[in-house]
Amino acid sequence: MEQKDDTLFIKLIPYIDKYGILLLIAIMLLVLHLLQPDVFFSWRNITNIFKQISWQSMLALGVFMVIVTAGIDLSVGSILMLSLMALAISSRAGLPWQIVVLVAPAVGLVCGMINGLGITILRMPHPFIMTLGTLYIFRGVGNLISGGVPIGGFANQIRSIGNGKIKLEWLYGEGAAQYIPSSLIIIIIIYVIFWIFLNQTKIGKWIYAIGGNPGAARAAGINVNRILVLVYTLCGFLAGIGALILAGRTGSAYPNAGLQSELDAIAAVIIGGASFFGGRGTVLGVFAGVFIMGLLRNGLNLMNVSVFWQQVLIGSIIILAVYIDVLRRQFGTRK
C-alpha cells in the first residue's frame, strides 16, 4: 500500500527536480508583479536585479564547483574583499588600467590556491575549517593593506566592467533609456565558459566524479588532490572576477565588501539544485538559484521589508534548502 504512494511520488521527483525551479521562478515573478504592479516589471528594476546579482553570481559559480566536489568554501566573501582592496590599491598607485584589471582575478586565484593547497596538503578534516580560517585571514589582510578605510577612484575602463551600459537605441529608437548592463553580458560569457568546462571537458567530468565517489575517482587514476586544488583555485579566481564587477558597480573598495556573501552563494547553489553532499547540480541551476535570491532580495526591498528580517530569512532559507537536499537524498537512496 505504502509502496504505491511512494512510487508515484518517486516518479514525480525527477520532474520536480528538473522543472521545479522554473516553476518557482515563474511563481515569484507573478507574485512580485502582483504585489508591485507598477515597479516590478519596469526595465529599470529588472536591470537592477541583474546588476545586483552580477557579482554574487560569480561567487555562487565558484562555490558551486566546490560543493560539487562535496567541499565548501566559506572564504569567498573575504577573497572578494581582499581582491577588491588589492585592485583599489594598485589603482591608487597609478598603475595602468590594463594591469589593474588583472590584479583582482590574480589575487583571487592565489587566495583560492592557498585554500586548495591547505585542504589537500595539510589534509584538513573538512574544507570548512580551512576556509573558515582563511575567511578571517583574507579579510584581515584586506583590512591591513587598506588600513580599514574605503578606497575610491578607479579608472573609467575598470568602472565600465561593472557599470557599463549597452544602450538599446537601435531597438527602441534614439535617446531611449533602455539598456543592457555590460556586467550581465560578462557573467553570461563566464557561465557559458564554465558550462563548457564542467560538461565538455575531462576535468569537468572528474570534478563530478570526485563528488560522487572520491574512491572511484582515485581508482580510475585521477589525481584527486590536484583537481581539488584546481577547483578551489578557480573558485578564488571567480571571486576575484566578482570583485572586478563589484568595483565597477560601487566605484570604491570598502571594508565590508562581500561580508557574509558566502551565505548567499551557498543558498543560491543549493536552491539551484546542487547537492550539499556532492556530485550533483548544473551550471544553469546555479544561475537560476542566484536569480531567485536576487528576486527575493529585490522583492523584499520593494516591499520595504527590514534588512534585518531579510537576514533572518536568508538564514532560514539556507537551512530549508539543505533540508530539502537531505530529503532528496533520502528518497534517492530508497530507490
Partner: protein
Amino acid sequence: MIQKQKNFISSYRKLPPEFNIFLVLLGIALVFEILGWIFIGQSFLLNKRRLVIMILQVSVIGIIAVGVTQVIIMAGIDLSGGSLVALSAIVAASLAQNSTYTKAIYPHLTDLPFIVPVLAGIACGLFAGFISGSLIARTGIPPFIATLGMLVSARGAAAWYNNGKPVSFLGDDFTALGQGAWPVLIFLVVAAVFHILMRYTRYGKHTYAIGSNEEAARVAGINIVRHKIIVYSIAGALSGLAGVVTAARAMSAQAGMGMMYELDAISAAVIGGTSLFGGRGRIAGTLFGVLILGVISSGFVFMRIDAYYQDMVKGAIIVGAVIVDHYRNKKMRNKDKDT
C-alpha cells in the same frame, strides 16, 4: 591505596596535552615579555591592570567556549555563539532598563529584579540552541549549516529587535554583573560546573561516547536525538549567559555585539586540545586555550601592532591547531586500522 596510585599514574599519562598547552601559554607570554623589554621598555606580565583587562576580556569568550567545547567533543560544531551573544544581550537589556529612562522599550517593564533579564537572556540563547539542536538531530542537516543559518538569523533578529538601535540605561544591579571580578567569577563557575559535568556525570559520558562513535552510542541504547538537542541547547544557553554578561559590562546592548566570537570560542577549544573529530577534549584545555587567545590579543595591543594582524594570527592558529590535532589523531587511529 594501590588503586589510587594507579589512577594517579594513568591520569598523569593523560596530563601532557593540557600540560603542553600550558607550556605554549607560558611561551607566548614570555615572548611578549622579552619583546616588551626590548622594544617597549616595560614588562608585559608585571602589569596588574593589563592582566585584569585581559582576563575580563576573555571571560565572555570563555563562557561561549565552554559550550562550544562540549559540542565539538560530540563531533558537532556551533557557529552561532557570537550572534546569540548579540540577541541575548539585546533581549536581556530590554528587560533591564531603568524607570528613569522615559524611552524604555517596555515602559511597564522597568526596574525589574536583575534576575529577570538574566534569565530572559539565557532562555533566549537556550531556545535558539534548541532550534539548532533539533534541526541537527532530527533532520540530518549538517551541524555547520544549521548553526550557520542560526548565525545569520540570530544576528538579523538582534538587529530587528530594536530596529538596529542600541539599548541602554540599564539598571544598576543588572550592570553590576559586568563590573569588577563578576565576569571572571561567572566564567570560572561555568568552567568548573562543566568540568564536573563532563568528567563525572552521565551527560558528559554520553557526550564523549557520541563524539567518539555515534553508532556505538546508538546501539548502546543512548537516545542520540535527545542528547544532541540537550547539548546544543546548553551551548546556546551559555552563549545567552555570555550575552547577558556582555550587556552588563558594556551597560548597553547592540546588534553588533559578539561579532566573530564564535571563531574565538572554536579556536580556544581546538587550541585547548579538543579534537574536531570528536570524542576528545577537556574543559581545562579550553581554559588554557582561552587564555592563550587573551595573551595574544593583549600582547598585540601591548606591542602596538595593528589590530588587523590579530584576525590573521587567529585564523592561522586555528588552522595550525587543527593540523596538530589531525596528526595526533592519525597516529592514534593508525594503530587499529583494519585491512
